[in-house]
């Protein structure tokens, strides 16, 4: 593996870790609200959250390029906080949107699977709702949390279309593994491409193995 490949690999791991962490942080309350809230906004918000599942990544990338440009709807804010195309922060922002459903959906399913009883029991023991969430709901939803983290991480590693649209292919900033692989293929460096491709293939398989093990373990309990 060349120095460039290694740089792309490390950048990809950094991006995916950061995005997963942020998504767990913001996605958990969102998933909880989607699972247990009573607002009439629940369904539209759920649909909005799932949108990146359906949208072609190029659509997302194209809108981000327009929205984050100086004349774009988010251009002013983007400039103020430094979340711009061609920057690492810009990629983090795009990836948060792109991988959101992969974290929120498993969490929501896990929270819904708990049913009302554990929390009712906690309430009769005078646990505050917040305390019940952290000491009862979250530990019980652990398999969902792990699935969410693994899928969010893996999906960010596999991100390509959005990065191609807004990344600008800058080494150490936005040239992630999938872009590096694409460049190798386009430049006919098939040997280098195969190294990266094999790495991604093994990684994806390992990820799915973890997720399915988790599921199998759950059914045996």
């Amino acid at each position: 593996m060349s120095a460039d490949d290694l740089q792309a690999l490390l950048l990809t791991l950094k991006l995916a870790s950061l995005v997963t962490l942020l998504l767990l942080l913001f996605g958990t309350p969102l998933a909880w609200w989607l699972a247990c809230g009573r607002s009439r906004w629940r369904t539209p918000v759920a649909a909005l959250t799932a949108l990146p599942l359906v949208l072609p990544p190029t659509v997302l990338g194209f809108y981000l390029l327009l929205a984050l440009g100086p004349q774009g709807a988010l251009g002013g804010i983007a400039r103020a906080v430094g979340v711009l195309p061609f920057t690492f922060a810009g990629l983090v922002f795009a990836s948060l949107i792109y991988s959101l459903p992969f974290v929120v959906q498993p969490l929501r399913t896990a929270f819904e699977g708990l049913g009302p009883r554990p929390l009712e029991a906690a309430a009769t023991l005078r646990a505050s709702p917040l305390r019940a969430f952290f000491t009862v709901a979250l530990p019980l939803a652990r398999p969902g949390l792990i699935t969410a983290a693994v899928l969010g991480f893996a999906h960010t590693v596999g991100e390509f279309g959005v990065v191609l649209m807004i990344g600008g292919n800058i080494p150490g900033q936005t040239r992630v593994l999938s872009i590096q692989l694409y460049d190798h293929v386009e430049a006919l460096e098939y040997a280098s491409a195969q190294h990266l491709a094999a790495l991604l293939l093994l990684f994806s398989f390992a990820v799915l193995l973890v997720v399915y093990r988790q599921r199998a373990a759950l059914h045996h309990v």
């Binding site: 390029l65 807004i166 292919n169």
Partner: protein, 250 residues
């Protein structure tokens, strides 16, 4: 006859019509030639009755795809090297190769007044991003790197370079204002010999190797009369007028 049935029959007839006598030619077109090619395709289809299916992209990418069995009948490349290479490797017909246009590189900004007539803005600090096409894949990207080398700016702009996968993407980066400056094809920003938007410096041809853009008949088009007809049409005065109007030399 009921309406849905009639609709079905009409669409079936239309579908069969397209499968009938008129040929469809799949053409791989260098991204910089997108706009003129669409105009040429309209004229060609009207005249011949044949259909063109156009794919736009980086020339280097088309090379890979053709080597791996892409069904393109004709390649309009952004250079002469790629068609020659395909011919020598047995993927295209050497005798069919000719230069259909000579491209020009421009330094362009979407903001009026940013780019001066000498391109001195390159040396200034008034921009954060300079967009180019991927030099490894796109001849216009390689030409841009030559210009930067000539101006001894390779090191200075290294941290400002953003690379589009092809010249259209480099244009997108500049057009949306995300990059203040970019090297694009004159054809992308000019109409009838005038810069149609923003500000631009037409880079003197002596600063980079000439962008001779060659067309070639690929193996998949060997037995397609319509593919040969398209290559003939590119030699016609009608096509040449269109090509010149987008700022290419011939």
């Amino acid at each position: 006859m009921s309406r849905p049935l009639r609709l079905l029959l009409v669409s079936a007839a239309l579908l069969l019509g397209t499968l009938g006598h008129a040929d469809t030619v799949q053409v791989a077109v260098a991204a910089n030639f997108s706009a003129p090619m669409q105009a040429i395709a309209r004229a060609f289809e009207q005249q011949s009755g044949d259909q063109l299916s156009l794919s736009f992209g980086a020339t280097g990418k088309f090379y890979t795809q053709i080597k791996n069995g892409a069904p393109f009948a004709v390649l309009l490349a952004a250079d002469s090297k790629t068609p020659q290479r395909l011919a020598s490797e047995g993927n295209a017909l050497p005798a069919s190769e000719f230069t259909y246009a000579t491209g020009k590189l421009v330094l362009w900004s979407a903001s009026p007044g940013l780019v001066d007539a000498q391109g001195a803005v390159l040396e200034s600090g008034s921009y954060q991003h300079l967009a180019i096409a991927n030099p490894a894949l796109a001849p216009y990207g390689a030409a841009a790197m030559q210009v930067l080398a000539q101006r001894k700016l390779l090191v200075a702009v290294q941290s400002k370079l953003v690379t589009g996968e092809n010249i259209t993407q480099a244009y997108d980066f500049v057009a949306t204002g995300n990059a203040e400056l970019g090297f694009v094809a004159l054809s992308q920003v000019s109409l009838n010999g005038q810069i149609s938007k923003g500000s631009a410096w037409v880079v003197p041809a002596k600063l980079y190797d000439p962008l001779h853009q060659d067309a070639i008949l690929l193996n998949a088009g060997k037995d397609l009369p319509a593919a040969k007809a398209l290559l003939d049409f590119l030699h016609s005065d009608a096509a040449k007028t269109i090509i010149r109007s987008y700022g290419y030399d011939l």
